[in-house]
């Protein structure tokens, strides 16, 4: 059923004759249900024509303007190319094809003066198919998507002009028109295209989807439509560093809300003039939101940095913990890049034993995102088979929120270590027994000299919760320690020039040094353990 009623005739007639497409006409007549918009363009045009073909009397007796369709066609066939009474601002602008026939021909060439073609060809199946082809070619795996459409800002200006025109026309019939009575361009566009996209790609549209298809339209021909606004509302258009043009959609909307009707009409034609060409599609891009993989890693090498060690473009040590784990993930998830983070870290020459250290990897713009837990297990196996320097466990997909648990561990939780200690003085078993009895020892650590070049100079108080000493020989013993997060173990052993107090040297009255250090456990219970 045709959605327009007798009340809408004048407005519809006015808009059609000034170059507005059927769907935009529906919008300005307040047609707020989806079905009419979804009909094919040709059909809509025909129906609209039929609807407007009224008895001459009805129109002529009520409104002198515009002339009935038959007369118009006649004039066209006579080749008149300017009709003043059709546009309000006195300029003879008509969007009519050269050969004179409007209605019967599919008005592809008749570009709508309000939507610039967006609600003409750009919402129909053919265009949607083209976009979907690009989406499919991009190689992303997705089960839903969110559509992000960007229109050129000058559409708001044209919309505003049309709205003023319609408001005026309805005023003549003693009817009012509020902003909410018309349907927004974007709304109508979504109503039509969402089902088409869903059908073509076989997945639902979901606002929360991580997979985004973005389509950007531009209309270079009318770019200057917005410029007059700057003269009238200069403070809406302050140049910002990142933006190419100050005429953003937000800025233009702001200015349109401010500007007075008279001022607007002086500067911009109502109705808007008809452009020669439709919008162009500047870009069709696909992107997937980041996914997160977490796990725990063990480090068995005393010659492996956590992150790549590169000075002046030269790699100082082969590989790194993050690369050994992430490179495999990058490949399997087909991601652009990654961000590795962990619950604290250890030095190059320190091993990580026990349950390992929690880590999380953010995979940026992954093309593949769906994995069964079996597939993740296999991925874990693959990583473990590829290197004996590191091993991972509890590999799993996690949410962005979960990362907080890991960072919490870095500052709050305890860690246990084992250190192989050398002493200059010969020691006996009894000389180290007292260490087992020390509980919650408070130590003050000045920023170690070895990191002072890149850290602020400060004193940090830390707690050594407990220790257990195991005699090895006259000059060696193994010390197990449970400490607060952020304790520098090496400095606690050798004293760092006396800048960590107390330290093993001061406690035992010897010169001591640390030969080996291992992380025995990182006491964070995240990520959840999986039964491998």
């Amino acid at each position: 059923m045709f959605p327009l009623t007798v009340e809408n005739k004048h407005v519809a007639q006015l808009l059609l004759s000034t170059g507005t497409c059927p769907r935009c006409i529906f919008r300005f007549c307040g047609v707020d249900f989806h079905a009419p918009y979804k009909l094919p363009y040709k059909e809509l045009l025909n129906e609209l024509q039929k609807f407007l073909e009224t008895e001459k009397d009805e129109l002529i007796s009520e409104v002198p303007n515009p002339p009935p369709k038959k007369i118009r066609l006649q004039e066209l066939e006579d080749g008149i190319d300017g009709m003043d009474n059709l546009s309000q601002n006195g300029e003879g602008k008509i969007s009519i094809i050269e050969d004179g026939s409007i209605a019967s021909k599919n008005s592809n060439l008749n570009v709508c003066n309000v939507c610039l073609g967006i609600l003409q060809d750009f919402c129909e199946k053919e265009f949607i198919k083209k976009v979907c082809q690009k989406v499919e070619a991009s190689g992303f795996e997705f089960t839903n998507l969110v559509l992000s459409i960007s229109f050129p800002p000058q559409l708001s200006v044209r919309e505003h002009a049309a709205w003023l025109l319609v408001k005026q026309e309805m005023g003549k019939q003693s009817l009012s028109l509020e902003r909410n009575d018309t349907v927004q361009l974007k709304e109508a566009y979504k109503w039509i295209t969402h089902p088409l996209f869903s059908e073509e790609l076989g997945v639902p549209i979901d606002g929360k989807s991580l997979f985004e298809v973005s389509v950007v339209f531009a209309h270079p021909e009318t770019v200057e439509d917005c410029h007059f606004l700057r003269a009238i509302c200069p403070d809406c258009f302050k140049p910002a560093k990142n933006k190419q043009s100050v005429f953003t959609r937000m800025a233009v909307m702001k200015a349109l809300n401010k500007i007075k009707e008279e001022d607007f009409r002086k500067q911009f034609p109502c109705p808007p003039n008809s452009p020669k060409a439709v919008c162009s599609v500047v870009e069709i891009e696909c992107a997937h939101g980041a996914v997160f993989v977490a796990g725990r890693y063990n480090k068995y090498s005393r010659n492996l940095p956590q992150t790549p060690w590169i000075i002046d473009g030269e790699r100082k040590l082969d590989s790194s913990v993050e690369e050994l784990i992430s490179d495999h993930l990058l490949t399997v998830f087909k991601a652009e890049s990654f961000n590795f983070s962990s619950s604290g870290r250890e030095d190059v020459d320190v091993r990580t034993l026990g349950n390992g250290r929690p880590f999380a990897i953010e995979l940026v713009n992954p093309h593949r995102v769906h994995f069964t837990s079996q597939e993740i297990k296999e991925l874990q196996q693959k990583i473990n088979n590829s290197s004996n320097k590191i091993q991972v466990r509890d590999l799993q997909l996690v949410t962005r929120e979960a990362i907080g648990h890991m960072k919490e561990g870095e500052e709050e939780k305890t860690k246990t270590y084992s250190a192989l200690i050398w002493t200059n003085k010969a020691i006996q078993r009894k000389d180290i027994e007292f260490l087992d009895d020390i509980k919650d020892l408070k130590i003050d650590q000045k920023t170690p000299l070895r990191v002072l070049h890149r850290r602020p100079l400060a004193v940090r108080t830390r707690i050594i919760h407990s220790m257990e000493a195991h005699y090895v020989d006259e000059h060696h013993f193994r010390l197990y320690l449970k400490t607060q997060a952020g304790t520098y173990i090496k400095e606690f052993v050798h004293g760092d020039f006396g800048r960590t107090k107390p330290n093993i040297c001061s406690l035992m009255d010897v010169t001591a040094d640390i030969l080996e250090l291992d992380v025995e456990s990182v006491d964070v219970d995240w990520p959840p353990a999986l039964d491998d």
Binding site: L449, H475, H494, T511
Partner: protein, 187 residues
């Protein structure tokens, strides 16, 4: 007459010596006869991250046997005390800037002798060792570690050039040997 180096020696001759903390992370540089004063040798420990620890070389008069330190003072002039040095942030703003000849502290000995210790390197003063204020003998017992004088952070651009005016370990040892020979020659 240098004090025992702190390089650890194995209990049994068969075991190799374990490199000390200083051996592992620092390079030793020397400046002999600082400010023209005979034998007032300084040892600068330069970390691989460019941080310098200023210490006394073994041949310095203060470290000779029999010398007793009465007190140490960081008040190097009426207006300047190295103890007032305050450093903030990652870039160590507010630090006192030192040139090679900048005095760090004064050591007063029981025999009336007074020694001034100089920076020997250009850079920002990070800290002076307050532990030797409370226990001056620490300076003599552990001059290369707990008895250090100060920590200096050279400018990043100058981290290599600061050692240009300094002697390597080998060069320093030659200087010491020459002195000994000179003394024996004259005696």
């Amino acid at each position: 007459m240098a004090t025992e180096p702190e390089t650890p020696v194995a209990a049994s001759a068969a075991e190799p010596a374990v490199p000390s903390l200083v051996d592992r992370y620092f390079t030793r540089w020397y400046k002999a006869d600082v400010k023209g004063k005979p034998c007032e040798d300084h040892c600068i420990l330069q970390h691989s991250n460019r941080i310098c620890v200023i210490t006394l070389a073994g041949s310095h008069p203060v470290l000779q046997s029999g010398k007793v330190i009465k007190s140490i003072s960081y008040q190097i002039s009426t207006n300047c005390s190295r103890l007032q040095n305050k450093v903030s942030g990652k870039f160590k703003r507010g630090a006192q800037f030192l040139t090679e000849l900048a005095p760090l502290c004064k050591i007063y000995c029981s025999d009336g002798e007074e020694y001034t210790i100089s920076s020997c390197v250009r850079g920002r003063l990070m800290e002076v060792n307050e532990n030797i204020l409370h226990k001056p003998s620490l300076l003599q017992q552990k001059p290369s570690t707990e008895g250090y004088i100060a920590v200096v952070l050279p400018k990043f651009e100058e981290s290599k050039s600061i050692t240009e005016g300094l002697l390597t370990q080998k060069q320093y040892e030659e200087v010491v040997v020459k002195r000994i020979n000179a003394t024996t020659a004259t005696s």
